[in-house]
């Protein structure tokens, strides 16, 4: 509880700092940085949605009995884990148009980030599913549940809990990796900072604020994940 309080205080302090900065000489570059932050948040939120969806689809797919589904999931995971995110972004934005597929900068950024992190997340999900005790599968089979219901009603609710630390870690990484999306011409926090620095040459001020902005975003995810985990594990402490 006290940790949560501390976080709120830090956040309030930072917002107060921003307010002061807005009415001081910082106003010459701060609005541009905040516009960048909005882009980062937009890319972040959309990418996270795709990331979670892909993590669960591919993670479950990798354990499917059907060989084609399993191989497809494996190929997806290996391709995106084995290649550089930056290169994938270049492909989506600069190479695909050569084949007639034209994506907006935002679409390319979200696809690249979401698919890339989804591949890592799939391994977290797979591990979590494998961590559900065998007795749970046996009990649900003995109750004549179909494999589908078994997965949705018994295994996944327990596995999700196990995925929370791993997925929140990856989510924080994703937010920081959004710095790469300037490669596809999006003006995010990082790109805005570089631009503003070139104009105003206030290197220290600008990059301190940039760091703090990323730190705040990461804290949101960290506390969100922590609260989710505490809530979800209320009844499970003794059972594991």
């Amino acid at each position: 509880m006290s940790r949560r309080l501390a976080a709120v205080l830090v956040l309030l302090g930072f917002l107060a700092g921003l307010a002061i900065a807005t009415f001081s000489e910082y106003r010459i570059f701060l609005p541009a940085l905040l516009r960048g932050a909005v882009v980062t948040v937009k890319v972040g939120v959309l990418s996270i949605a795709l990331f979670y969806a892909m993590a669960f689809i591919a993670g479950i797919g990798r354990l499917n009995k059907n060989r084609i589904i399993r191989y497809t999931a494996t190929v997806y995971i290996e391709v995106f884990r084995g290649t550089s995110l930056l290169v994938i972004l270049f492909w989506l934005f600069f190479v695909l148009p050569e084949f007639g597929v034209i994506l907006s900068p935002l679409a390319a950024a979200v696809l690249g980030m979401g698919l890339n992190y989804g591949a890592y997340g799939a391994e977290v999900v797979r591990g979590a599913i494998l961590a559900v005790p065998r007795g749970q599968y046996e009990a649900s089979l003995a109750l004549n549940m179909t494999p589908r219901k078994q997965m949705l009603r018994v295994v996944l609710p327990q596995a999700v809990l196990v995925t929370i630390p791993g997925l929140s870690n990856l989510t924080i990484e994703l937010i920081k990796a959004t710095a790469l999306v300037s490669a596809v011409t999006l003006v995010d926090i990082t790109f805005a900072s570089v631009q503003q620095n070139q104009i105003h040459l206030r290197t220290i001020d600008i990059f301190v604020i940039t760091l703090l902005l990323y730190y705040c975003l990461a804290q949101f995810v960290r506390f969100g994940g922590g609260m989710l985990e505490a809530r979800a594990s209320r009844h499970l402490a003794k059972a594991r």
Binding site: L141, A142, T146, R153, L236
Partner: protein
């Protein structure tokens, strides 16, 4: 199905793990309403009998019949072919199993555990499933624990919820796999009381694997002594437990009774 068919029949059932033969061409049967206790040393195949019957494990050869219908096979054009999933599901609905480690769903309350499979598997209306589940929880003495999670219940209470959960699917055959082995001694009695009531009701065909010899003698119609994947000796509990004829049975019983 005819009246003469036993409820459960194993015909030359063989189960191997690699080179280890767990069930060795086993012939076994249980009649409708019969309470059969299976005893034997660890590794004798006694738990495997329940596990293959529950379809938790495959068998290599042989046929298991429930009410005269094959479980692991189905007849097509007069021949037995490997069973389809739908066929197995239909026959399996007659069987319920209670596990040594309860295996309750930890993210659900006692009541939710009991209505999960009826509502989401069988399609029973939630209101009706809840009414039935509450009756069953009352029967095992846990009506007041309906909203408790497994982590908030003692081992004995968890096992009683697990029994209620199994009964909620209205099985005809009940399998108990060492239902009191994971319990603290003071909780064994409360679980055995529930099983005793079920055995005496005569509504279920019961296969019980246990080391509780006194209880086996009290509730069973028949006791089977397993060793090496076969039944070495079987008979009325008084005869088999009181005066075993087979030397292996005698050794096993003297060891088990000594340990108490």
């Amino acid at each position: 199905m005819s009246d003469r068919d036993p409820k459960v029949r194993f015909e030359k059932v063989t189960k191997t793990y690699g080179t280890l033969q767990v069930l060795d061409s086993l012939d076994f049967h249980a009649d409708n309403g019969e309470v059969v206790t299976v005893i034997g040393p660890s590794g004798s195949g006694k738990t495997t009998v329940l596990r293959v019957l529950m379809t938790l494990e495959d068998i290599q050869s042989g046929v298991i019949y429930i009410d005269g219908e094959p479980l692991n096979k189905m007849s097509r054009g007069g021949r037995l072919v490997p069973a389809s999933k739908a066929h197995v599901r239909r026959i399996r609905a007659k069987i319920g199993m209670v596990f040594q480690n309860f295996n309750l769903f930890p993210h659900m309350t006692a009541l939710q555990n009991c209505i999960e499979a009826p509502v989401h598997g069988k399609g029973v209306a939630k209101g009706q499933a809840t009414t039935e589940a509450l009756e069953l929880l009352d029967m095992v003495g846990l009506a007041d624990k309906r909203d408790h999670y497994p982590s908030q219940l003692s081992g004995g209470q968890q096992q009683r919820v697990a029994i209620a959960r199994t009964l909620a699917m209205r099985p005809e055959i009940l399998l108990f796999d060492e239902p009191t082995s994971a319990l603290d001694p003071e909780m064994v009695g409360e679980v055995l009381n529930v099983i005793r009531d079920l055995a005496r009701s005569g509504r279920y065909t019961i296969l019980l694997v246990t080391h509780q010899m006194g209880f086996a003698r009290e509730v069973s119609d028949r006791v089977c002594f397993f060793d090496g994947g076969r039944i070495l000796e079987e008979g009325a509990p008084r005869d088999l437990l009181g005066d075993p004829r087979n030397e292996r049975t005698r050794q096993f019983l003297s060891k088990v009774l000594e340990a108490r």
